[in-house]
C-alpha cells in the first residue's frame, strides 16, 4: 500500500497516483515513474530470476541497459515478454509479472540448478549429453529448452498495429542530455532542419538524475528550458521516447518511437512507429553507461549501479534502501553517497578500491580506501557485505560503480573499432564512425560535464556550418568542473564465491577464466563459448568488465583484447514494428482484373497468382466438387464457346523503326519479316540458353507492335527488354511501355467464338475465317466505337481470339460478351479449365518454363534460328545442353485409364522410372511437370521431362510418386493430346 521508499522531490507528479500490479499484488506509483522506480518505491527489489541458475535478481540500472528487471507486461494477446521495467513508463492498470521461474518468484523450483552450478560452467553442454545418441532430441534438449528461454510469447496474433514513418533532416542529434541539447541549440540556431531524439520519455538525459547546476539553474530545469526553446523552433523536431536503433547506409537511421500505453487507451493508434530518418549528418550524444565490478556474489537484489541509485533518488525520489553503501573505483561513485546523504538517506559506508585520499567526506559513513567488497549475504535481498579487510557491514543497498563506458554502440555499426583510453579506463569511439556521424560529450569519452557541453555546443555549430548553414554565435552553457578520476577495477579473486560478469546470462568471472583456459582467447570466442554479452541487454553493462577480466587472465592489454562487434539494433525492436502494416491482407499488394466484380457476382472461386487474384473456376448450383465445375467449363468451351479473363498476361507496346530487328535479338525465332496484321508465337531465352518466357507478338502497323508475356514473368520480361534496349543496343529505334494495367484482355474460345464476337465487334471489321485468319491481329472497335485489339490466337486449341479493350471498358465488355453469348450457351472459365485445355494441347507453361529447360528440352529446337544472334543463342549450344540424353518434354498417359481417378491427385511431381528399376537417384529418368484429368480423353494426362524423351514415344515407363503413394505404368506420347493436327484452330 505505502510507498515506503518514496522521499520528497523528484520529477514525478505526486498529485497523480497510478495503480498497477506486480505478480498480482496491487501497488501504487506516480505519474513520471517507470515500472522499476515504482517497484523500488514499494521496496520491491526481487523482480526476477536469472537465465541459467535461476538466482534471485533485483533491479540493477535505471535505463535500457538493464540486465535483470525484465518481465512480462500485460496479459492475453497483449502480453509483452522480456520488457525492461526500467524503461517502461508507468500507467494506470499496468500489469507486470516476473518471468523465468517455476512456482512463486520467491521460491523458484528451478533454483535447484544453482546447486549444480559447479557442473554447469561455461560450455559444459559441449562435453556431455552425447549418450545415448538418441537422447539429445528426446530428453536432454527439451529439458534444456524448457528451462531456458525467458518470457513467454503470447500464442495469439499480435493485436496491436505498428506504423512506419519517414523523416528527413539536415542534422540528427541522438541523445538529448546536456550534450545533445547543447548541440541541438547551436545547430538549430543556424536554421538547419534538426531532429533531436532520445530514448527516454522525458528529455534531459542524466541531467534529470543529477543535482548538477547548469548556468546556475538545476540541470533538469535547464534541460526543460532548452527543450522548450527547441520545441518553439519550426526547424526542430523533437522525438522523445524514440530510440535510434541502427545506422544504415547513406545517412539512413532506424528509429523506434514508443507510444505510451496510456495515450493509446481506447484507441486503435499504433503501439510503436518505426521511423526511417534520412539525415545528412548526425551527432551522437548518447552519453555513457555505467559498469559493475565482479566481486563475490555481486548479483544479489539490492546491489545496483551507483549512478542508477542516484537516479532513483534524484529523479524518482526513491531511496533504494534504508542503509546504503557505495563501492566504487572512481570519483563519480562518491556523488551517489553525497546525493543520498543530502536527501537524508543513511549512507553506512563508502568503499573505494583506490589507495588515495577520500574524495569527500560523507556524514555518518565509514570510509574505506584501498578496499574492496569481496562477498555479500542475503538471498532475496542484500543484508550485508564483506570487505577485503575482513570487516562485515550491514547494508540493504549497495551502489556499485566500476566506471562509465562511453555509449559508442552506434559508432560501430559500420565496423568502427573502439579504442582503449587508459585515462578514463574505457573504450572510446575510433574515427571510423559511419559517414556523416560525429560524436560529442561522454559518448566520445569527454567525461567532465562542462567540457562535454562545450564540445557538443561547438560541434553543433561546426556541423551546421559544414552543411552551409550559419549558426548564431551562442554562448555554451557552463557548469562547475567536477573531475572524473578512475583506476580500472574488474574485480577481485574471491575464493569459492562466484562473481558475476553478465547477470542475465549468468556468466561469472570463472567462466571467462575457464574459456581462456580451454583455448578460447579471442573475445569473439569467449563471447560464444560463455554467452557473455548475448542476453537481451547485449552486455551493455557486462562486456567491458568481461574484456577486463580476459585481459588480466591472458596478461594482455585491453586494446589487444578488443571488443566484440556491435550490431543493430541498439535496443531490441519488436518484429511487428519492422513489419508495420504489412501483415494479413496487406502482406503483399493485391491486383484485381476488370472482370473481378463480375466474377464475384458469379460466385467464382479465386486463386492468388503472384499479386493477382484470378477466377479459378465458377461453381454452378449442384456442383459439389471443383472437378465438376472445371470439366463442365472445358466441355462447354470445346463444344461451344467460353470466355476467360487473361488480363494478367504481360502486355508491352513497342514502337519504333527498329522493332523487328530488336525482336529478332530477343526471340529464338525469326521476327524480322512479321507482316503487319499478323501475330507470331515467340520463345525468349535467358543468355544462358534456358527458356525465360514465351508469348505472342503482333504487328499492328509498320512500326507498332504489341507483345504478350506470361502472367508470372510480365515484370521480369519487361525489365529484360529494357536491359536489352538501353544497355545492349541503345541506338535501336525502339520505345517500350508496359500496358498490362491499361488493357483488359479476354480469351474467347470455342467453335462459336467467332459467332459471339461478330455480335460485339463493330460490323465494319471483317472477322471471317478468310478476312481474319488464324494468327491475324488488328486494331478494331467494338460495341459501337470502343477501341479494341483483336488477335486470333489460341491457348485452348479451339477456334479462339483474344480481345483487348482499355481497362475501363473491361467490366462492360465481359458483361456484353456474356449477354451476346447467351444464345450459344457461353461459359466463363477459370484458370483451372485454362490449364486443362493447355495441357490437352501440350503447351508449355510455368511448370515447364521453370528456368531449368532449354528450347531443345521443350521440344522447340526446331524454332531456334541458326542464322542470327539472339539472347541465349551461343550459350544454348554448349555440349551439355545439346546432349541427346537430356530430359526432354513429352506427354504421358496412363496405360490403365482409370489410374489415379480415385486417388484425388494427379501425376504432377511423380518421377519416371524404367519398368523394373528401383526408385534411386541413379535410376531417375525424369519427372512429370503438369498433370490434370482430361475430360476430353477421360483419364489423367501429363506433360513431363524424360531422358531422350523426343525419341522414346511409344515406350512404357512408370510414374512413381513415393510421397503420396502411387506407382503407375504410363506411355510416353506426344504432348499434343487433343486435336494434334490443329484443325480446330483454323476453322
Amino acid at each position: 500500500m505505502s510507498q515506503t521508499n518514496r522521499k520528497d522531490g523528484g520529477l514525478i507528479n505526486k498529485d497523480k497516483t497510478l495503480t498497477f500490479t506486480f505478480n498480482g499484488q496491487i501497488l501504487r506509483g506516480y505519474e513520471g515513474d517507470t515500472l522499476a522506480s515504482a517497484l523500488l518505491a514499494n521496496n520491491k527489489h526481487l523482480v526476477g530470476r536469472s537465465f541459467k541458475y535461476h538466482r534471485p535478481r533485483g533491479i540493477v540500472t535505471v535505463g535500457s541497459e538493464e540486465p535483470n528487471a525484465i518481465m512480462e507486461i500485460g496479459s492475453g494477446a497483449y502480453k509483452e515478454p522480456n520488457t525492461r521495467a526500467t524503461v517502461t513508463q508507468l500507467y494506470n492498470g499496468l500489469e507486470a509479472n516476473s518471468q523465468n521461474h517455476r512456482g512463486p518468484l520467491g521460491f523458484d523450483l528451478m533454483a535447484i540448478t544453482d546447486f549444480f552450478s559447479p557442473m554447469l560452467g561455461a560450455g559444459f553442454y559441449y562435453k556431455t549429453f552425447m549418450w545415448p545418441k538418441a537422447f539429445w532430441e528426446k530428453i536432454y534438449e527439451p529439458a534444456i529448452r524448457n528451462s531456458a528461454g525467458l518470457g513467454t510469447l503470447a500464442k495469439e496474433p499480435d493485436p496491436d498495429t505498428y506504423d512506419k514513418g519517414f523523416r528527413y533532416c539536415d542534422i540528427l542529434i541522438i541523445g538529448a542530455g546536456a550534450s545533445g541539447l547543447s548541440a541541438a541549440l547551436t545547430a538549430a540556431s543556424s536554421g538547419a532542419k534538426v531532429i533531436l531524439a532520445d530514448e527516454d520519455f522525458i528529455m534531459g538525459g542524466r541531467l534529470n538524475s543529477e543535482t548538477t547546476k547548469i548556468d546556475g539553474t538545476p540541470g533538469s530545469e535547464w534541460a526543460k528550458n532548452a527543450v522548450d526553446k527547441l520545441s518553439a523552433m519550426d526547424n526542430v523536431t523533437l522525438m522523445a521516447d524514440t530510440t535510434i536503433f541502427g545506422v544504415y547506409d547513406h545517412g539512413i537511421y532506424g528509429a523506434l518511437e514508443n507510444r505510451s500505453s496510456e495515450s493509446r487507451a481506447n484507441s486503435n493508434k499504433p503501439r510503436q512507429v518505426n521511423w526511417r530518418i534520412y539525415a545528412k549528418r548526425s551527432i551522437l550524444c548518447a552519453g555513457a553507461i555505467e559498469r559493475s565490478i565482479a566481486f563475490g556474489n555481486n548479483d544479489r537484489p539490492g546491489i545496483m549501479l551507483a549512478g542508477s541509485v542516484r537516479s532513483y533518488m534524484n529523479r524518482f525520489a526513491v531511496a533504494t534502501g534504508q542503509k546504503v553503501s557505495v563501492y566504487t573505483n572512481n570519483d563519480d561513485g562518491w556523488q551517489t553517497a553525497k546525493d543520498l546523504r543530502t536527501k537524508g538517506v543513511k549512507v553506512v559506508a563508502v568503499i573505494d578500491s583506490r589507495s588515495i585520499s577520500p574524495v569527500m567526506g560523507i556524514q555518518g559513513a565509514e570510509i574505506f580506501m584501498g578496499t574492496d567488497v569481496v562477498d555479500t549475504k542475503g538471498r532475496r535481498r542484500l543484508k550485508s557485505i564483506k570487505l577485503s579487510n575482513g570487516k562485515t557491514i550491514d547494508t540493504d543497498s549497495l551502489a556499485v560503480s566500476g566506471g562509465w563506458n562511453p555509449n559508442l554502440h552506434l559508432t560501430c555499426h559500420h565496423r568502427g573499432i573502439p579504442i582503449w583510453n587508459e585515462s578514463i579506463a574505457s573504450f572510446v569511439p575510433d574515427d571510423k564512425a559511419p559517414p556523416g556521424m560525429s560524436v560529442a560529450g561522454r559518448a566520445k569519452g569527454t567525461m567532465v560535464l562542462n567540457d562535454a557541453i562545450k564540445e557538443a555546443h561547438d560541434l553543433g555549430a561546426t556541423v551546421a556550418s559544414e552543411l552551409g548553414f550559419k549558426p548564431k554565435d551562442l554562448k555554451a552553457a557552463s557548469t562547475p568542473v567536477v573531475a572524473y578520476n578512475i583506476v580500472a577495477n574488474w574485480g577481485v579473486p574471491s575464493g569459492k564465491n562466484r562473481a558475476w560478469v553478465d547477470f542475465q546470462n549468468d556468466v561469472t568471472a570463472k567462466d571467462v577464466k575457464l574459456a581462456n583456459q580451454e583455448g578460447f582467447k579471442s573475445v569473439e570466442h569467449v563471447k560464444r563459448y560463455t554467452t557473455l554479452g548475448m542476453a537481451t541487454d547485449q552486455g551493455k553493462t557486462a562486456n567491458v568488465l568481461g574484456i577486463g577480466i580476459m585481459a588480466e587472465n591472458m596478461g594482455q592489454s585491453m586494446q589487444e583484447t578488443g571488443t566484440t562487434i556491435f550490431r543493430p539494433p541498439y535496443n531490441p525492436v519488436a518484429v511487428g514494428a519492422f513489419a508495420g502494416r504489412r501483415r494479413g491482407m496487406e502482406f503483399y499488394p493485391t491486383r484485381y482484373t476488370p472482370s473481378h466484380k463480375w466474377s464475384e457476382e458469379q460466385g467464382a472461386v479465386f486463386v492468388e497468382v503472384g499479386m493477382w487474384y484470378r477466377s479459378q473456376w465458377f461453381p454452378q448450383p449442384g456442383e459439389t466438387h471443383w472437378r465438376q465445375s472445371v470439366d463442365r467449363e472445358v466441355i462447354q468451351t470445346r463444344s461451344s464457346v467460353g470466355i476467360c479473363d487473361v488480363t494478367t498476361l504481360g502486355k508491352i507496346d513497342i514502337k519504333g523503326s527498329d522493332v523487328s530487328e530488336f525482336l529478332n535479338k530477343v526471340y529464338v525465332n525469326a521476327f524480322a519479316k512479321l507482316p503487319v496484321g499478323k501475330t507470331r508465337y515467340g520463345l525468349m531465352l535467358r543468355e544462358d540458353g534456358m527458356a525465360m518466357d514465351d508469348g505472342t507478338t503482333a504487328r499492328l502497323s509498320e512500326d507498332h507492335f504489341v507483345m504478350t508475356t506470361t502472367t508470372a514473368n510480365a515484370v521480369s520480361v519487361y525489365r529484360h527488354l529494357q536491359f536489352c534496349h538501353q544497355v545492349l543496343w541503345p541506338d535501336l529505334d525502339v520505345h517500350m511501355i508496359s500496358v498490362t494495367e491499361q488493357y483488359a484482355q479476354y480469351a474467347v474460345a470455342g467453335p462459336n467464338s467467332r459467332k459471339l464476337l461478330e455480335k460485339i465487334v463493330d460490323s465494319k471489321h471483317d472477322i471471317s475465317n478468310e478476312g481474319f485468319p488464324f494468327m491475324a491481329a488488328a486494331e478494331i472497335s467494338v460495341c459501337g466505337g470502343i477501341p479494341a485489339r483483336l488477335f486470333r490466337i489460341s491457348f485452348s486449341g479451339e477456334l479462339a481470339y483474344e480481345i483487348a479493350v482499355p481497362t475501363r471498358y473491361g467490366d462492360s465488355l465481359m458483361r456484353a460478351m456474356m449477354e451476346a453469348g447467351e444464345e450459344f450457351n457461353v461459359v466463363p472459365y477459370g484458370t483451372e479449365a485454362l490449364g486443362v485445355m493447355r495441357i490437352e494441347k501440350g503447351h508449355a507453361a510455368g511448370p515447364e518454363l521453370n528456368g531449368q529447360t532449354s528450347a531443345y528440352d521443350l521440344g522447340m529446337g526446331g524454332m531456334v534460328s541458326g542464322k542470327k544472334d539472339f539472347i541465349g543463342y551461343k550459350l544454348g549450344l554448349r555440349e551439355e545442353l545439346q546432349r541427346s540424353d537430356r530430359m526432354q518434354m513429352v506427354g504421358f498417359k496412363p496405360v490403365n485409364k482409370s489410374d489415379l481417378v480415385d486417388k484425388g491427385f494427379s501425376m504432377a511431381g511423380s518421377h519416371l522410372l524404367d519398368l523394373r528399376d528401383k526408385p534411386t537417384t541413379e535410376n531417375d529418368q525424369g519427372w512429370i511437370s503438369s498433370s490434370i484429368y482430361s475430360p476430353m480423353l477421360g483419364c489423367y494426362i501429363g506433360l513431363g521431362f524424360i531422358k531422350n524423351g523426343l525419341n522414346r514415344k511409344g515406350e512404357f515407363v512408370r510414374a512413381v510418386d513415393l510421397v503420396r503413394g502411387s506407382d503407375i505404368e504410363v506411355e510416353i506420347c506426344s504432348p499434343h493430346f487433343y486435336d494434334p493436327e490443329g484443325g480446330r484452330l483454323r476453322v
Binding site: 525489365r719 541503345p730 551461343k874
Partner: protein, 96 residues
C-alpha cells in the same frame, strides 16, 4: 542506400532492382565465330567480384525504368557516381 538518379535526384534503393557488374554491357558480338563460345562463357559467368570500387547496373523499376550505372564501393557502400546506362553503353561502343 540512396541512389542519386541522374534525372530524378536521390531515391531510396528500394525503388531499384540490382543486376550486377557493368561487365554485362560487353556482350560479345562475334557470335558467328567458333571462338565466341569462350567469350560468351566469360561474359555470362566470370566476375571480377571486386572488393572496392565496383561499376554496377541498377534498374529503376519503381520509377522511370531506366537502367543506371552506379559506381559503388563494395567495402563501404559509398556511391561516387550514377549515370544512365545507355550513355555508358554508348561510350563503351555499343551504339550504332
Amino acid at each position: 542506400m540512396i541512389i542519386n538518379h541522374p534525372l530524378l535526384g536521390p531515391r531510396d534503393s528500394e525503388e531499384f532492382v540490382y543486376l550486377g557488374s557493368t561487365d554485362l554491357i560487353n556482350r560479345p558480338t562475334n557470335w558467328e565465330e567458333e571462338a565466341s563460345a569462350e567469350d560468351f562463357y566469360q561474359y555470362q559467368y566470370i566476375r571480377d567480384n571486386i572488393a572496392g570500387d565496383h561499376q554496377e547496373l541498377w534498374y529503376h523499376e519503381q520509377g522511370d525504368q531506366s537502367w543506371l550505372v552506379v559506381s559503388r564501393n563494395t567495402l563501404t557502400h559509398e556511391i561516387t557516381k550514377v549515370e544512365l546506362a545507355q550513355d555508358v553503353a554508348r561510350t563503351m561502343g555499343r551504339g550504332k
